[in-house]
């Protein structure tokens, strides 16, 4: 995977994870163009499109679009499963996740993503293990904070 973007139906960015080195300007340009392209798609269209030399896989969950750019040899259908797994993780963590959860706790959304994917590939295929690791890390935050206060 080259990057993953989460954005609302109004085109506001909620999360951006880049696995390729690009300048801020390039990232902004790509984001703007891709968001426009995806938002222009009709609801009945398929979840895949070719954009520049990348394959784009996107899926809408309620008011959020989850959009991934994958390479030529990557499997589009399993990418849909990756997206779905991430949504499930967020859902489990926040308890019935909605867009506001991701807005107000964006750093947590990143932490969860970073426990699930690394360098664009899945590092853990067990939902339970990802959530356990996040839980432990969260605890670590509490403990350390108390110790030095």
């Amino acid at each position: 995977m080259q990057f993953m973007l989460l954005f609302s139906r109004q085109g506001k960015l909620r999360l951006q994870k880049w696995y390729v080195p690009l300048s801020d300007k390039e990232k902004k340009k790509i984001t703007r163009e891709l968001v426009q392209t995806v938002l222009a798609r009709k609801p009945k269209m398929c979840s895949f499109l070719e954009w520049r030399d990348l394959k784009i896989v996107y899926k809408r969950y309620a008011s959020l679009y989850f959009c991934c750019a994958i390479e030529d040899q990557d499997n589009e259908l399993i990418t849909l499963e990756i997206i779905h797994r991430y949504v499930e993780l967020l859902d489990k963590y926040f308890g019935s996740v909605c867009e506001l959860d991701i807005i107000f706790n964006f750093e947590k959304a990143y932490f969860i993503l970073d426990e699930f994917l690394l360098g664009g590939e899945a590092q853990e295929t067990s939902k339970k293990n990802v959530l356990k690791a996040i839980e432990q890390a969260d605890l670590l935050q509490e403990v350390r904070a108390l110790a030095t206060a």
């Binding site: 951006q16 080195p21 398929c46 499997n75 990756i82 590939e121 295929t125 690791a133 432990q136 935050q141």
Partner: protein
């Protein structure tokens, strides 16, 4: 001093802004507060401030002044600080900034931290955005962690290693020892990331590939266990056990089995098993089937397995899920070359996909349809494709039209059908056809001698309907110019001949000249067509009048043509009939290799007898007479045959050896014609110095645009070359 506001508080506040300006004001105020807090080196709230900065960054505001603060957070001993610090580094820093190198030491320390979650943070950051320098410095640490028994760290180290290898491929060797027992792990996370690492190594190095081929039995076993094992709640997705791992294993097997008989043999059974036993009701099952099909098609699988794969794709095509259909079309496109017959069986389903609403699916279906066209199905397929051309989006029309022309050329069952098809394309998508289709079509029409009357009639009728589509108009003008006599005399056999007078034809052509819809090129075509009709029609005065009017046209090209045609009327009327006579059949020469399509024309100067041109053997002299009213452009590469007519300046031109190879010598001598110094006479001497005869000597003359002969309009558009047949 009051504590900086909390992150959630800030987010709430910013969201209350009603306008962009209001938001910007809030952001600027907070940024100022954060900046002064940074300046004061406040350790307590640094984390909170950077988090707020990251939020503002996501809204699109600049946050570069927080970069160094992220580094300070990473260096802190508080886990919270490190978490936000690393996140900030991944969001705000990238390898283009020198600042990022300062992270290297911190990451090195954290890779050796006592807490695995800190190590995890470091591995994640390195694996996500580590530059080549960082990777070089830290590869050793990653390699160490790849050998740890802690599966939490091992899986991350594997993916970090993938990133290191991508950045610094030379370091791949050092990870080899650590891969030794990666696949014996029970932990799925480690298995998955190990397979990714092995895949990366095999893709990059043929040596690694041969080295890892021995893992095929082990991979097959792991895959088998996944399929055969009972329900495992931890890895289950809709009844399938760890589909992510299954897909990655299948992909690695594909790479290992490609081109290798033994490996392909070893994986044959498991592929068949996966292909037949995987549940297809949900996307996840289809994802595995998709990967399986890709693998079967790429390795040296036996034919039964291949047919199974194509049939899976055929079933995919009928699936309600658009995504599945899309993926099927993509895969079929890849396999249509190698397994043509098997794919043909699904032709009707593919053709149905042309009517799909989704743009991506339509495009795929179109490409696949063109790949499937052959001599047997051409009539049926063309009907569908023409219907598609009618109704498809403008973006498709150019490609579709080109595809149709190519297919028609290859498989046309009859000349009439071919011309009808072309007419249909020109009338439905006439403005989208590519520029080179006009000369191609003209050549095709010229060569279909018996269809001339039919063609010109149909084109004429099309012009009456619509003159906006330029390629159609250009071809039609050319045809009317050439075959206008057939049109007027009503000689059409194929269909009911129409009654049309010379004046009506000239009306149409003149209409093109004045119409705003006509491009300059089109106007050139119609003027020339009118001129040609001067030898075919009897309305000479009308034509003369038109030609002289355009002698003062603003368009330089048009003006030049008109002036020259005028000159033809006034001074060279005796040459006019010969110059404007019917174009002869053109030979089409296709050079293989670079695919350049060159049309060589015979007898560009109809004034010359064809026999004279051919009879160059044995050193006969031929004297072609070339008129030049305008100095031509200077000669290009000396000694080459191209651009011989360049540099005919008004002074004396020294003789030149144009060709000297394999015993054939061709020399050109130039002199001014005596009665008319504006005429240059080129004498061509060709001598055969070998003992054997030279047969099939072909001489052709090509005229550069500047000479602009009326009957050379076509040459202006085509790439010219000399053809010395041997």
């Amino acid at each position: 001093m009051p504590a900086p506001i909390r992150l959630r508080e800030l987010i709430r506040t910013i969201r209350t802004a009603r306008t962009q300006a209001e938001e910007r004001e809030m952001i600027q105020k907070e940024c100022a507060a954060i900046r002064s807090s940074f300046r004061e080196e406040d350790n307590t709230y640094r984390c909170r401030n950077v988090a707020k900065l990251l939020y503002m960054h996501m809204l699109g505001y600049p946050a570069h002044f927080g970069q160094l603060e992220c580094l300070k957070l990473i260096a802190s001993q508080k886990f919270t600080d490190k978490r936000i610090g690393y996140l900030g580094a991944m969001l705000l820093l990238d390898e283009r900034q020198d600042v990022h190198l300062l992270m290297t030491n911190c990451i090195k320390n954290d890779l050796n931290h006592s807490t695995q979650y800190v190590q995890g943070l470091a591995l994640c950051t390195l694996g996500c955005m580590g530059s080549s320098e960082m990777c070089r410095d830290l590869a050793g640490e990653v390699e160490k962690l790849l050998k740890t028994s802690n599966s939490y760290l091992r899986k991350k180290a594997a993916l970090c290693a993938v990133h290191v290898i991508r950045k610094v491929p030379e370091l791949m060797e050092m990870f080899l020892p650590a891969t030794k027992n990666l696949l014996s792990e029970k932990n799925h996370g480690v298995l998955h990331t190990s397979v990714v690492l092995l895949t990366e190594m095999c893709e990059r190095s043929p040596d690694m590939l041969s080295h890892f081929r021995k893992l095929v039995p082990q991979l097959v076993r792991i895959l088998k266990n996944l399929i055969m094992s009972g329900y495992s709640p931890e890895h289950d997705v809709s009844g399938i056990s760890d589909p992510f791992l299954q897909v990655r294993i299948l992909r690695l097997l594909r790479i290992l089995g490609k081109g290798d008989d033994d490996s392909s043999e070893a994986m044959n059974d498991i592929l068949a098993q996966v292909a037949t036993n995987t549940e297809t009701s949900k996307n996840v099952g289809n994802a595995i089937l998709y990967e399986t099909v890709l693998t079967i098609m790429d390795i040296k699988s036996e034919s039964g397995l291949r047919v199974l794969a194509i049939n899976i794709l055929g079933r995919f095509l009928l699936n309600n899920d658009k995504n599945i259909r899309y993926v099927a079309l993509t895969s079929l496109l890849k396999t249509v070359q190698t397994d043509h017959n098997a794919v043909q069986r699904h032709r009707s389903t593919i053709v149905d996909c042309l009517k799909d609403l989704d743009v991506s699916i339509k495009r795929r279906a179109m490409e696949l349809s063109f790949a499937l066209v052959n001599g047997n199905n051409i009539r049926g397929m063309m009907k569908e494709l023409l219907y598609f051309l009618d109704s498809c989006d403008p973006d498709f029309k150019a490609d579709c039209a080109s595809g149709i022309f190519l297919a028609a050329e290859k498989y046309a069952p009859s000349k009439r059908w071919h011309i009808d098809t072309i007419m249909r394309v020109l009338t439905t998508a006439g403005s989208y056809v590519r520029d080179d289709s006009v000369p191609n079509l003209i050549q095709l029409i010229t060569n279909s001698v018996e269809m001339h009357a039919y063609t010109v009639q149909r084109l004429y009728k099309a012009l009456l309907d619509d003159i906006s589509q330029q390629p159609l108009v250009q071809v039609a003008s050319w045809c009317i110019g050439e075959y206008g006599d057939l049109l007027v005399s009503g000689q059409c056999e194929e269909e009911e001949p129409i009654q049309v007078s010379e004046d009506e034809v000239l009306d149409v052509l003149e209409g093109l000249l004045v119409s705003n819809l006509s491009t300059p090129v089109t106007r050139g075509y119609s003027l020339t067509a009118i001129m040609k009709l001067s030898t075919r029609f009897s309305s000479l005065n009308r034509i003369k009048k038109v030609v002289s009017i355009y002698g003062s046209s603003i368009d330089v090209e048009l003006q030049q043509r008109a002036v020259e045609y005028n000159a033809l009327f006034k001074k060279y009327d005796h040459m006019r009939p010969a110059l404007l006579e019917r174009m002869p059949i053109m030979e089409k020469t296709i050079f293989s290799g670079d695919g350049i399509f060159t049309v060589c024309l015979w007898s560009v100067f109809p004034v010359l007898q064809a026999n004279d041109l051919l009879d160059l053997l044995g050193g006969n002299d031929v004297v072609p007479i070339i008129q030049t009213t305008v100095p031509t452009k200077p000669a290009s590469a000396g000694g080459e045959l191209l651009d011989l007519l360049g540099d005919l300046s008004l002074t004396v031109i020294p003789p030149m050896t144009a060709y000297n190879k394999n015993g054939l010598i061709i020399e050109f001598t130039f002199e001014r014609s005596n009665p008319n110094p504006n005429i240059a006479v080129i004498t061509i001497h060709a001598t055969n110095s070998t003992e054997a005869d030279m047969t099939e000597f072909v001489f052709q003359a090509a005229v550069p645009k500047v000479c602009s002969f009326p009957s050379c309009i076509l040459i202006n558009l085509l790439f010219m070359s000399w053809c010395i047949g041997t």
